[in-house]
Each structure stands twice: as C-alpha cells, then as structure tokens.
C-alpha cells in the first residue's frame, strides 16, 4: 500500500484508531480539511492515553512539583533532574511496560528497561542504577510462573548486558494481577551541570538526525495498544512485538554522551512510544519550531514499509538529535566509531508545523503544539464515584478474628509467603555490582550507590502497598510515599524527591477514577509534608483482567542523598547486647495486612492510619540518630509487621543473631 492508495479517513476508521467523536471533530477543526491516513495515525497515537495523559494530566498538575533542588520541572524534560551539590545532578524516572509484558514477558520487560535507560541518558546523564517494581497473579498458576520467569530474565539480560547494576526492586503476587502483570522499570543517572541536555528543537535549518538501530514494524499501535484493556479486541491489533538490543543500547549510550560532551547538539530525545511521531512533534512543540522531514531517509530494516508504519514504529534503541550548524560530520564520525546508523532525515523549519514528506510527497502536515500534552491534546475530567466494595470492607471488625493458636507457626507462614520471602532467586540474576558503586547489597531497606569522587551516595527504593490503596486510596497513597521515604532514611539517606508510576484500571469507570483521584490526592499531601517534590513519572491505565480492575497501584520511586558514606546503614542486627528501639506507635492495625490475607484469607478493614506530621518527625529523628553514629542497624516495619521485621533483622546479615523482645 504505497502512500497514494492510503484508505480514506472517516469517523469509523478514527474510532478504530481509538479516537472518539469529539476528538475526531477536533482533529478536523485543527487541520481545516480531511486528514490523510498517516495524519490519522499521528493524531491517534499522540492523543492516546499513553502519550497525552488526557485522563490524568488535570490531576497530575495538583501534585507538588516545586523544590529548591529541582533543575527541571516535572513534564518539562525526559526525566526529573535534582541538584545534589558538587556540581552534579541526578536524573531519575520510573515507567511502565505492563501490556507488552503480558503478551511477551521477556521482550516486554527488556524493552521497558531499555526505554527508561534512554530517558536518562538523553538528559546527558550516565545511568548508575536500575530498579524495578513487579506484580503478578498467584504463583500457583503456570502462566503466572511463565510471565514471572520471563520478566525477570528480560530485566536481567538487558540491564546486565547494558552494564547498569539492577540494585533494588519489589515483587508482589496477588490474584488481582492475574492476566495483567505490572512491570515498572526505574533508572537513576548522574550528570555534571554543564553537560545537561534538553529535548528541544530550535534554529531554523539545523539538521535533524536519527541515530541508532534501523526501523522496522516493531510494536506499531504500541502506544494505542497500551491504551486499551488486554482483551480479545487488542489481541489481533497486536502486531510485531518490540525486541530490545542491549548491545546496540550500550553503543547508543556511549555515542550520545560523547555528542553531548562535545557540545554538538541543540536537542536530543529518545524514541519512546510512538517513535518518530512523538519525538519530532514533542521536540518541535518544546522549541516552538517546526520540522521538514523526508521520511524515506529513515534507515529501514524491512521492505515495503509505508509512511504510516515508519512514523508509528516503536523499534528500539533509536534517538532523534538536532545538530548544531556545521557539526553534522562530527556527529557522523562519533556514530561511525560506535557502529551506529546516522541519517539526516530533515531540517528545523521556522513554521511551527511538522511536515512529513515521503519521496517528495507531503503525507502529514500538522502544527506540532496541537498534538502534544500541554498543547492541543485533549484534557478530560472524568466522573468519580466512591466504589461500593469499600462499605463491605470497612464493615470488617478485627475483634471477631479468632486468635491463632500457634504464633510461631503464623510467623513461619508469613516469612514463607511469596510477598515476604527472600527474593534472592531473583536478585542473583541481576548484576547488582557492576560499576563498583553498590555499597549496600540488595535485601536491605533501600539500595545505596556511591558517587565516585565524592564521599556521598544515593539511596533509592521503589514502594507501594496496593492492598492499602485498594482499601483507602487517599491514605494508601500517603503510605506509599511515607514508606519509600522510611526505607531511604533507614539506609542513611535524606529523601529529596520522587518519581511515580500510577498503575490503575479503566479511567472511564467512575469507581476507578475515584481511586485514581483519591490516590493522587494522598500522594500530593504526603510529598508536601515530607518535602519530596514529584519530578515526573508515568501513568498506566486500562490494567484490567477479565473479572475486574487490578488493585490501584501507585508505585513510588524515592531518591535520597547520603551525605557521608559513614552514614550508610543496613537492616540486620550487628552485635549481641545492642539495644533494640521501636520508633513510633505500634497500634496493632491489621486492616489490609499480609497477615489478614495469608492466614484469614481476607482483604478487608481500613488501611493503617498515618499522621504525616508525626511521620516527618519520626524520619528526622531516625536520620539524626544515624548521623550521630549511634545506630548500628535500622529497618522499616512493613509487610508482616513487627514480628517479620524483627525476624529479618536477625537473619538478613552474614551473622545469624537472635532477639528477645517484650511487646
């Protein structure tokens, strides 16, 4: 189907592309004419939930995004950027690759890691750590075991080959994620202030070059695909699976950092969902400029590709760069050194349109800002209704629970439950030591990675208890932030900022949207109280399995700074005779607990209470004690409560120690 015989566009075809009637009409108004088939493809992918955040941006804007250390505000660049002194900044972000992983777990997870790493090094930062947050159905189901094994191997193979240590993560198993696993990948990078890159396209006539792997039909409809529930409908629309090449990504990393260091670039952006379409339009809109693109110049891996396919392809390991005048050869020689394709596919223009030609014929000509988030992309406020299941859940009365006869047996069962048991089987598949910066090995509260050339380190953790959020989205959202901060503090770090990956069901269902609104509200309140601004993140809607939505899962990626390597603290008891102190109140709340689910088979009650002012003072007290050198170990109490926390402190370390405590 060459450009000439493209199907004519009508409302029906637009609906197939995920646009509703009002969006179809808005597209016609913007263009003032009927769109070409290629233009319909561009609108459908740019206005998909995945790229436009149309059902979430209104609420995301309520999150606190200011902070004196923030060098870039959430949403402005590919990743959040925080100043940490010594002339250094930290870029970090978390993103989801849930739907591709449900179809092909190995490649889905691998390309999730590849995508988030590119967001970091397109800021000019060298990735120094990777983390993840995974959720699966129950392990008794063979399909779940297949997904689990494939996802872990995909994350391991990609990170290990690329050469970034995978230092921390969390894994939960619950029937709620049956058929719809969550694969959230996070990356953290370091950049010197004078080497920070930006994703803008400016200066008329500047060359627009595509660097990296050649383009195939990978993941077409990837963006719109993530905007639909995994159902029979999305099955046949699923075309080529995206395949990751970590070796090419490593070459792309080194080449990109070399170009940025040599000051050859005006702007750089990675190819995420919607590939060339997204990068050309977002960079143009940001730079308030336009681009004239000759699409046939894109290096193609497959024969007979149409402009529609080239524009929407999500082939991995590609970057779009806007090159300073006269530096095109310098860029080409760096690409040659690293054996990467490098093709000039167009020029910056002074009209603010993205004009795409195919062998000289215009196939798309659209004002850039009408397509992008914050520009013409639609913004919706959905109806929110408090779900009925909360009434039954809140009616739960803990006093009616039978007291278990054998407490030791209960503790053993909790320690053996997949959600609490050791994840060593997983961690050992990740190279968590490459770059010789990992100074507290995985298994402790937060991972700690030192910054060579300074006496400081970064503490980092991903966290979310989705049962709490299910039972009380607002307080559950607060707890997700508070708990990730507690983990960082227990490792000796001061929390400085978060990224987040908000995994929810279908936003067009009022009870789901209520969960989303409440959770975002709780996260915002906690971030304000704990002084950890939101630096950016990702929203993944339509996480639904055949019998309903998954638990609302707003995963928080917390970053902390350890001011002195002597402050680094681990979770396990160090020497006999040490005094063990419990900071905070133990109110015996079991609503939504692992104990209640595992032993009594119930997910009920309200989630534990949280007073943010008290939480702030608790964390400050713990960090101050660590900084005064009077703390040998510190451990956050979470899944399984005090009993599990004490047990972990006894056996996590190289020396097995015991404790006698009276509660």
């Amino acid at each position: 189907m060459n450009a000439m015989q493209e199907p004519t566009v009508d409302l029906e075809l637009a609906k197939e592309h995920g646009l509703d009637e009002t969006e179809y009409q808005k597209m016609l108004d913007i263009l003032g004419r009927m769109p070409t088939f290629t233009e319909l493809g561009v609108f459908s992918v740019m206005w998909s939930e995945h790229c436009s955040y149309k059902n979430s941006i209104a609420l995301l804007k309520t999150l606190p995004r200011k902070g004196k250390h923030l060098l870039v505000e959430a949403g402005e660049e590919n990743a959040g950027l925080i100043d940490i002194g010594d002339g250094l900044a930290v870029a970090f972000k978390i993103e989801s690759h849930n739907h591709p992983s449900a179809v092909e777990p190995y490649q889905g997870a691998a390309t999730g890691v590849g995508g988030i790493l590119r967001d970091i090094f397109s800021m000019g930062a060298r990735p120094i750590a990777a983390l993840n947050s995974l959720r699966f159905g129950s392990l008794s189901d063979p399909r779940v075991r297949y997904l689990f094994e494939g996802v872990v191997k995909g994350i391991a193979d990609y990170g290990n080959c690329f050469g970034v240590p995978t230092v921390a993560g969390e894994i939960y198993f619950d029937e709620s994620y049956q058929g719809n696993p969550l694969v959230n990948a996070m990356a953290v990078g370091i950049v010197k202030h004078d080497q920070i890159a930006t994703a803008t396209a400016k200066e008329t006539g500047a060359a627009v070059m595509l660097v990296g792997s050649s383009t195939g039909r990978d993941g077409i409809h990837g963006a719109t695909f993530a905007s639909e529930e995994i159902s029979e409908a999305s099955e046949e629309k699923r075309s080529q699976v995206q395949v990751g090449d970590p070796f090419a990504e490593k070459l792309l990393l080194e080449a990109s950092l070399e170009m940025i260091k040599a000051d050859l670039l005006i702007g750089i952006q990675d190819m995420g969902a919607a590939g060339i379409t997204c990068s050309t339009t977002e960079m143009s809109a940001k730079g308030e400029s336009g681009m004239d693109i000759d699409l046939e110049r894109v290096p193609m891996r497959e024969k007979g590709m149409t402009p529609y396919e080239v524009l929407l392809s999500e082939s991995q390991e590609r970057m779009l760069v806007v090159v300073k005048h006269g530096r095109e050869n310098a860029v080409a020689s760096i690409c040659d050194k690293w054996d990467l394709n490098c093709a000039t596919i167009g020029r910056i223009s002074d009209h603010n349109k993205v004009t795409i030609k195919w062998h000289g014929e215009v196939v798309a000509d659209i004002p850039a800002d009408t397509l992008v988030l914050g520009g013409g992309a639609p913004v919706y406020h959905r109806e929110a209704v408090r779900p009925d299941y909360l009434n039954a859940a809140r009616a739960f009365d803990a006093t009616t629970l039978p007291e278990p006869r054998d407490h030791a047996e209960v503790l053993r069962n909790l320690l053996a439950s997949p959600n609490i048991a050791s994840k060593e089987w997983v961690i050992q598949q990740y190279d968590h030591m490459v770059r010789s910066n990992t100074i507290s090995l995985p298994g402790s509260d937060a991972a700690v990675v030192r910054i060579k050339g300074t006496n400081r380190a970064l503490a980092m953790k991903t966290d979310c208890n989705s049962r709490y959020v299910y039972l009380n989205p607002r307080v559950g959202g607060m707890i997700a932030v508070a708990e990730s901060a507690r983990n960082v503090v227990c490792s000796g770090g001061k929390p400085v900022g978060i990224t987040n990956c908000l995994n929810f069901g279908n936003p067009y269902k009022p009870e789901i949207y209520w969960q989303f609104r409440e959770a975002v509200g709780g996260i915002g309140t906690a971030c304000l109280a704990l002084g950890t601004p939101v630096t950016g993140g990702n929203v993944s809607f339509y996480n639904e399995n055949p019998d309903g939505a998954i638990y609302p899962t707003p995963v928080i990626g917390m970053l902390g700074v350890v001011d002195d390597l002597s402050h680094v603290t681990t979770a396990w008891f160090k020497s006999p005779g040490d005094l063990v102190v419990l900071l905070g109140h133990n109110k015996g709340e079991i609503g939504g607990s692992e104990y209640l689910k595992l032993i009594h088979g119930q997910v009920a009650g309200d989630c534990p209470t949280l007073e943010l002012d008290f939480e702030g003072r608790l964390q400050a007290c713990c960090l101050q004690a660590i900084r005064h050198g009077i703390v040998a170990s510190a451990h956050d109490i979470s899944d399984g409560g005090l009993a599990v926390a004490l047990a972990e402190c006894c056996f996590l370390g190289p020396r097995q120690l015991g404790i006698n405590a009276s509660v």
Partner: protein, 85 residues
C-alpha cells in the same frame, strides 16, 4: 530408535540483534556477499520405543507447550528413524 530435529526460527519481521551483529562481524572478517544472517535454535529429541507417528505427535506437543514461543517464533520438524529414511 527415532529422533526428531526441531528447527526454531524467529518470525519474519521480528528484529534479530544477534543475526545483525554476526553479519557485521563476518564482513569485518572479509566474508563478503552475505545479505542477511538469522540465528535460531536446533533441538534434537531422541525417543525410546515409540512409533514414528507417536514421536511426531509428541514433538508437536513439546513445541507448542514449551520449546517454541508462539508469539515470536516458528518451528519445523524433521523426523529421523535410526534404520534410515
């Protein structure tokens, strides 16, 4: 004694990073004239006392259930019985 040789290859259009890198390496070794390289898997299964049809049936079942990933791979089976043909 019957054995099956299974050829597992990537579906066309699916990116093959390994094949791409090996092709490039061959060119650097001066081996010209090669347009494309694709890397796949070879699985040999030796059967005990089973008929040829049963062996074929079991092999297909093994491929569908475990050996080939239907999302990105195709497979082909060659049956070889010890006493030739």
């Amino acid at each position: 004694m019957i054995s099956a040789r299974i050829h597992i290859t990537l579906k066309s259009g699916i990116l093959d990073p390994q094949g791409k890198t090996v092709l490039h390496a061959l060119e650097n070794l001066g081996i010209q004239g090669v347009d494309e390289v694709r890397i796949g898997k070879l699985i040999d299964m030796d059967f005990g006392e089973v008929t040829k049809d049963r062996a074929e049936e079991l092999t297909h079942e093994a491929c569908k259930k475990l050996l080939a990933n239907p999302v990105i791979e195709d497979y082909r089976i060659e049956l070889v019985s010890e006493d030739g043909g």
